[in-house]
């Protein structure tokens, strides 16, 4: 097979006009780069490395002490703690969340839920919020990311 491969590799060079891709410029780059600067193709990666950039975590949330569900749990990656604005009479929320950063949304029918979900590996904190349908105050808990997280509200 190797002679065939050699032949086909040559063919690629000859027929490469259809895929002008980036091969030629890549070779050029490699030629002009200082030797101490590694190119990606020179990298040697561990055999078991995964070229994905997310991690899975398991979240257990328990609201038994709050009287249980029905409730609704959300996990956000973009959030901020804000001081109460006394000029706004209805500004009772301490946490503001970017609604487009919701990672998990789940109803809690009874006392607890357990969910596995994925998060980008660069995240370090999440905000877990529970809202009740019957008007009980919302619960918020900032968590540091770990493989398994248990929250008792």
């Amino acid at each position: 097979m190797k002679p065939l491969l050699f032949l086909t590799a040559s063919l690629i060079l000859l027929t490469g006009c259809e895929n002008t891709s980036d091969s030629s410029s890549s070779i050029e780059d490699k030629a002009i780069q200082p030797k101490e600067l590694l190119t990606t193709s020179e990298l040697i990666a561990p055999e078991d490395i995964k070229f994905i950039s997310h991690d899975k975590i398991i979240l257990l949330a328990d609201i038994t002490k709050q009287g249980g569900g029905p409730a609704y749990l959300s996990v956000y990656s973009d959030f901020e703690f804000v001081e109460k604005d006394v000029t706004k009479e209805n500004d009772y929320l301490q946490w503001t969340t970017n609604q487009n950063s919701r990672i998990l949304a789940s109803s809690i029918e009874h006392n607890q839920i357990e969910q596995e979900f994925a998060i980008p590996q660069h995240l370090t904190k999440l905000l877990v919020q529970v809202w009740f349908y019957d008007g009980r105050p919302a619960l918020s808990h900032e968590i540091t990311i770990a493989n398994e997280i248990s929250i008792i509200f």
Binding site: T20, S41, K50, P70, E89, N90, A105, H122, Y133
Partner: protein, 725 residues
């Protein structure tokens, strides 16, 4: 000495100081009262502002009087000198006048002036046309080089239509007016004065001001209530276009007992320069009435504007739908101002769900939900809030989702401002509109979004496999997002969204997604959704429903998003979005929803599922292959197994070290992959730029086996100038 005196007089006369308009203004002019006050009307929103409340006394008289029958002459001569003036009739002093850019009036010395007072007029092709019912239609030449300059010509003395204004269509040059009594739209023959009925517009009243815009829309303002109506004459005369032409309520303007309007008909409604627009639009697809052409929901942004959330809305020339919308557009310059609504309990059927609405000040909220997912807010129960009073700050509101609402993704619209009674379309004088995607669900359902419900991860592929690529990681690049809908700890549905970010190679590749472990027959195709959104020439995303993407010749569930990604974009560049000197917008996105006929085991739930590229049929894909490999050549994320369609004889060729027995796939001898998932909206390297040159910390990330530099792909870690912005 006498000559000098006359020269001084000449320079002091109003004529010598009368400056023409420098531009063709977007705002309409509204003339009201005696003495006349001139207002600027933003037809988009109905807001008005006083442009001049002192039009000066007419020379030789002791008062300004009332100016009516006004038209705008948008004329610049061949040397570039502006002759842009307003022309009208001073009904108090019964004289024809010209108004300059400061709205100072100068009498025109007219020959053959007919008796009487005139309230109806407009300018076209350097002629002023004026009209009075039961008297006649006239015109006079405004060209001061013409022999008949300011000589009135009688077109017709038969004038039976009850017009209070008329206007010229800038496209076909024809004159149109609405009869106040009947509401019938008439086309007026400017050679004979004959009128042709174009049937009823459906509205009657005193339409004291009429205007056209450059696209051929006719606007009339009704004196009694100030409402501005729009009549779509943009296609009049073209094949298939026929009366009647309905007057659609467009905005709420100022009411008046006496008014007249004029406008530079060659101007668009909104300044073309995005930075100068003061209009906020929604983002929902246009079936919900969002764009200006559709009379979409829009609000004027004014000082101390009431708005939703904490971010002041940004002005837009028109609604930006789909790819360029605030929600979707990833350009650094884009402002995502849709931050006022939080669906904190989701939207479960039959429950009283809670929505948090953040308002900048007190005002009134209107909101609509498309409960039956039919693409509009027209249905009986779809207005959920009507003139709901809000206070500044957070407002907790309750929404009961109908028990018969359709499960799945849909749209909602929130309009907030000082006005009451506004609908889901049309202009508003202040406030903000926010359109939000909603998810209608049942109790007991959870949603796992990756990376979240509003942003993307990036999939980057090298397509030379099994030959090692150049590691610029941009041969095919997609933004990607998954939603796993889980019920009773089992998978009920998978939604996948994507955007085509880059094509950095000339090989032709398709893009597909496999749901590992699920059979093609397990999809409920009657509930399935597959849509493309593609950028049109106006910069809007056009949504098209697509045929069933499930590969029928495979047993496992494989959705072919596109057999050739080059078919999805159009560019004048060599490649698509990989050359920093050749910039394209993102042109394509997709939305795929795969509901299952029965719940799938929890083991099926995945973060990415299995997105992969494959060679396009009948296309050359390198000399490694004796024939065009087509669908048999697949490139997956590292260690994802190939599908049943892949040709396993390609494994182990060239630099590839795939080995089915070891479950090792798509890696070379250095354990490097041909594709990667990057957990952010990543900026890929430019063509030919090695990944390490753009992201140096990737080296330590890899060699440490991901112990260090977990953020190697973030903004702070990249080398500017090496990436495609």
């Amino acid at each position: 000495m006498m000559r000098l005196f006359f020269l001084i007089l000449l320079f002091l006369s109003p004529l010598s100081f009368s400056a023409p308009f420098e531009t063709c203004p977007t705002k309409a002019f509204l003339f009201q009262g005696n003495p006349t006050t001139v207002y600027g009307i933003n037809l988009v929103s109905g807001t008005d502002s006083i442009l001049q409340d002192d039009v000066s006394n007419l020379r030789g008289t002791s008062s300004a009087g009332n100016v009516n029958g006004v038209g705008f002459d948008d004329y610049i001569n061949s040397e570039g000198t502006s002759y842009r003036y307003l022309y009208g009739f001073n009904t108090t002093h019964r004289k024809f006048v010209r108004l300059d850019s400061d709205f100072q009036q100068t009498e025109l010395v007219v020959s053959n002036q007919p008796d009487g007072t005139f309230y109806v007029g407009d300018v076209y092709d350097r002629h002023y046309y004026f009209y009075r019912k039961n008297k006649g239609l006239y015109k006079m030449n405004l060209d001061d080089t013409a022999t008949n300059y300011l000589v009135v010509q009688t077109i017709s003395t038969s004038a039976t239509r009850n017009f209070t204004d008329f206007a010229f269509h800038p496209g076909n040059g024809k004159l149109y007016g609405i009869d106040n009594s009947s509401g019938i739209l008439y086309e007026v023959n400017t050679d004979t004065g004959a009128t042709t009925s174009l049937l009823s517009t459906g509205e009657t009243g005193t339409f004291g001001a009429g205007y056209f815009d450059v696209n051929g829309y006719f606007y009339v303002s009704r004196n009694q209530d100030g409402k501005i109506y729009r009549v779509d004459l943009s296609s009049i005369g073209s094949e298939g276009d026929a009366p009647p032409y309905t007057a659609v309520e467009f905005a709420a303007g100022p009411l008046s007992g006496q008014n007249d309007g004029a406008r530079c008909a060659n101007a668009p409604l909104i300044d073309e320069d995005e930075g100068t627009s003061t209009i906020d639009f929604g983002d929902a697809p246009d079936t919900y009435l969002t764009s200006l052409a559709a009379n979409g929901a829009r609000h004027e942004i004014i000082t101390n504007n009431p708005f939703l959330g904490s971010i002041v809305p940004d002005g837009e020339v028109d609604a930006r739908l789909g790819l360029l919308s605030d929600d979707v557009n990833n350009d650094d310059s884009n402002t995502d101002d849709e931050d006022g609504i939080a669906f904190v309990t989701g939207l479960a059927r039959g429950l009283n769900n809670i929505i948090l609405v953040t308002a900048s000040t007190s005002g009134y909220l209107q909101a609509w939900f498309d409960w039956n997912r039919d693409g509009d807010f027209n249905d009986d129960n779809e207005q959920v809030f009507s003139d709901q009073s809000l206070i500044a700050g957070s407002n907790s509101l309750v929404v009961q989702v109908p028990i018969d609402a359709e499960i799945g993704a849909s749209w909602s619209r929130f309009r907030f401002g000082s006005q009451t009674g506004i609908g889901f379309s049309g202009g508003a004088t202040d406030g903000e509109v926010e359109d939000h995607v909603i998810e209608i669900s049942d109790v007991g359902v959870s949603y796992s979004y990756y990376p979240n419900n509003g942003s993307w991860v990036t999939l980057a592929y090298e397509d030379l496999w099994p030959i090692e690529g150049d590691y610029d990681m941009n041969d095919v690049v997609f933004h990607y997002r998954t939603v796993s809908v889980i019920r009773d700890n089992k998978l009920q549905r998978v939604d996948i969204y994507g955007q085509l970010l880059a094509i950095g190679a000339s090989y032709h590749n398709g893009f597909a997604i496999r749901i590992p472990g699920v059979q093609a027959a397990d999809v409920n195709t009657s509930k399935m959704r597959f849509r493309y959104t593609q950028l049109d020439s106006d910069g809007n995303g056009t949504i098209t429903e697509q045929d069933n993407p499930i590969e029928s010749s495979s047993d496992e569930l494989i959705a072919i998003i596109s057999p050739d990604v080059w078919d999805l974009v159009s560019t004048s560049c060599t490649f698509y979005r990989t050359d920093a000197s050749c910039i394209d917008h993102i042109q394509f996105s997709f939305e795929l929803s795969l509901p299952f006929t029965q719940l799938q085991p929890s083991s099926i739930v995945s973060t990415l599922y299995d997105p992969f590229i494959f060679a396009t049929e009948n296309r050359f894909h390198g000399g490694t292959f004796p024939t065009h490999p087509g669908r048999e050549l697949e490139i997956h994320l590292a260690d994802m197994s190939p599908t049943e369609k892949a040709n396993s004889t390609y494994f182990g060729e060239e630099q590839d070290t795939s080995n089915t027995d070891d479950d090792r796939f798509y890696k070379n001898s250095n354990n490097l992959p041909w594709s990667m998932e990057i957990a952010t909206e990543w900026k890929h390297p430019q063509s030919g730029i090695d990944l390490l040159k753009a992201y140096p910390n990737f080296e330590n990330y890899v060699t440490s086996n991901k112990a260090n530099n977990l953020d190697w792909y973030q903004v702070s870690e990249r080398v500017e100038g090496q990436i495609y912005q």
